[in-house]
């Protein structure tokens, strides 16, 4: 396919603008196409879905995507049932399984595991998350959701809210937006959870970025607010967590002053950072965002089918 030369999906940093656009266009096709007209795309293909670390949405949406395209799923949802428990290296596990399957989808807690798997695998590897590092299919479905909702990514004004220090989704989004034009990113976080300096430096010049610790400061300018969870386990000091955890709880009361067409996104799971009162509102885009994981993952599976390594 024109504009898509990737043999594995490991990191959003590997994607050019053309690559991203090719995936989003293919995902739009997939969404329009009824299952009965796409269920032979992975006919006679085995996709190994290897979840060394638990996941709900990512694993189930990949398995649904494989099923929708007529492929078969092999794999495991827990490393405890794999040979990893016996002490086998990831490199060996992947090398062997790539002899059984036509593609590998994997999640692993070790950072860089997907890159290593892609090196040793004879078949394409799709990263379903490698620790705190990358989760490129999440980023692509986030971009797809923005494109679908606003008909564009160029020129979008987006607020990133919450844990910007450790959150891999917001880091990947920064690198992804750097491929587009005139994207304004408003980083909204408490001082202790600000966007890392190296990411700001890496993307400077390609995106216009502003930082604040006050939600209300740039709220009226936003087309979309991408909220993330503040994770307790990130804090050494529990007192600090208790002080911060409720700062950015979103509800009808603090989202009054938004522009027309404003939307709220979240990679899920939501714990308490978005009140359930917003779930049925027009601005809540997060359930549709999660559903968009299916056409995006179908697109990637279809595009990588038959790729020679």
């Amino acid at each position: 396919m024109v504009g898509f030369n990737l043999r594995d999906i490991v990191s959003i940093s590997d994607f050019s603008r053309k690559d991203i656009e090719a995936v989003l266009a293919k995902a739009a096709d997939m969404e329009k196409t009824p299952k009965s007209k796409k269920d032979t795309i992975l006919k006679d293909k085995n996709v190994a879905v290897l979840f060394f670390e638990p996941s709900t949405r990512t694993r189930l949406s990949f398995e649904t995507a494989v099923n929708n395209l007529g492929g078969s799923v092999i794999g495991f949802a827990d490393a405890g049932v794999s040979s990893t428990k016996k002490g086998e290296s990831l490199s060996h596990t992947i090398k062997v399984i790539s002899g059984y399957a036509d593609m590998i989808v994997m999640r692993h807690s070790v950072e860089g595991a997907a890159r290593r798997a892609a090196e040793v695998s004879k078949k394409p590897v799709i990263n379903g998350g490698d620790g705190a590092n990358q989760h490129p299919t999440q980023t692509l479905l986030d971009l797809y959701t923005i494109k679908k909702q606003f008909k564009k990514i160029d020129g979008i004004n987006i607020g990133l809210l919450g844990d910007l220090k450790y959150g891999r989704t917001v880091h990947s989004l920064m690198y992804a937006f750097a491929n587009f034009k005139n994207v304004k990113v408003y980083c909204i976080a408490p001082d202790s959870l600000k966007m890392p300096k190296n990411i700001i430096e890496d993307t400077a010049g390609n995106i216009e970025m502003k930082e604040t610790s006050k939600l209300e400061e740039f709220l009226p300018e936003l087309d979309v607010l991408y909220a993330t969870r503040i994770q307790k386990e990130r804090f050494v000091d529990e007192f600090e967590y208790e002080q911060i955890k409720n700062v950015f709880i979103l509800g009808k009361d603090n989202l009054k002053n938004v522009k027309k067409g404003f939307r709220l996104m979240h990679p899920l799971p939501i714990v308490n950072e978005i009140k359930t009162e917003l779930d049925g509102s027009e601005m809540a885009l997060y359930f549709e965002q999660a559903e968009n994981g299916i056409p995006v993952r179908e697109a990637l599976l279809a595009m990588l089918k038959g790729v020679k390594k």
């Binding site: 990191s11 940093s13 290296s89 990831l90 490199s91 807690s109 070790v110 950072e111 860089g112 595991a113 890159r115 290593r116 490698d130 620790g131 705190a132 590092n133 990358q134 190296n198 890496d202």
Partner: protein, 152 residues
């Protein structure tokens, strides 16, 4: 014996590393494992330099550096000079430059990186001004003092 003779012990065969940034010579001794060298290693730290003001300088008797060793030095002493001495003559003089890529030269500082869990050679992508090294596996970026310490 005049002053110059005291400062610089000439070598017959080996390598002279000149124009090293101040503070790098001792680290280069560690990196090259020269504390166990059989022949003489003479080091001048924070010595005067016409072009740099101050510099470190090393005379390593009986040792020719490998490409990997030169690349490691290039990570902390870019723009230094390497002179290869044979029979007391300068046989070759070359500028030390930053390697294009760093394979196996730097240990990843991220304990959760696959290179620290399975025994794999590390791979780093280098960018300049300022120097940064990005792990090709876990994508952790290090710079400055972190690179200085992480050379293995």
């Amino acid at each position: 014996m005049n002053k110059d003779d005291i400062r610089l012990t000439p070598i017959s065969n080996g390598t002279v590393l000149d124009h090293l940034p101040v503070g790098t010579a001792l680290r280069i001794i560690e990196i090259l494992g020269l504390e166990k060298a059989e022949d003489a290693v003479t080091v001048a730290i924070n010595t005067e330099s016409k072009s740099l003001g101050r510099k470190d300088l090393m005379f390593i008797e009986g040792k020719a550096l490998t490409k990997e060793e030169i690349d490691k030095i290039g990570l902390i002493a870019e723009n230094g000079t390497m002179n290869i001495i044979e029979k007391k003559e300068v046989k070759k003089k070359e500028k030390i430059s930053l390697p294009k890529q760093a394979s196996g030269l730097i240990k990843c500082v991220n304990p959760k990186c696959i290179t620290n869990i399975e025994s794999l050679p590390t791979k780093f992508t280098l960018t300049q001004n300022p120097l940064k090294a990005k792990c090709q596996y876990c994508e952790k970026t290090i710079s400055g003092e972190e690179i200085f310490k992480a050379i293995q």
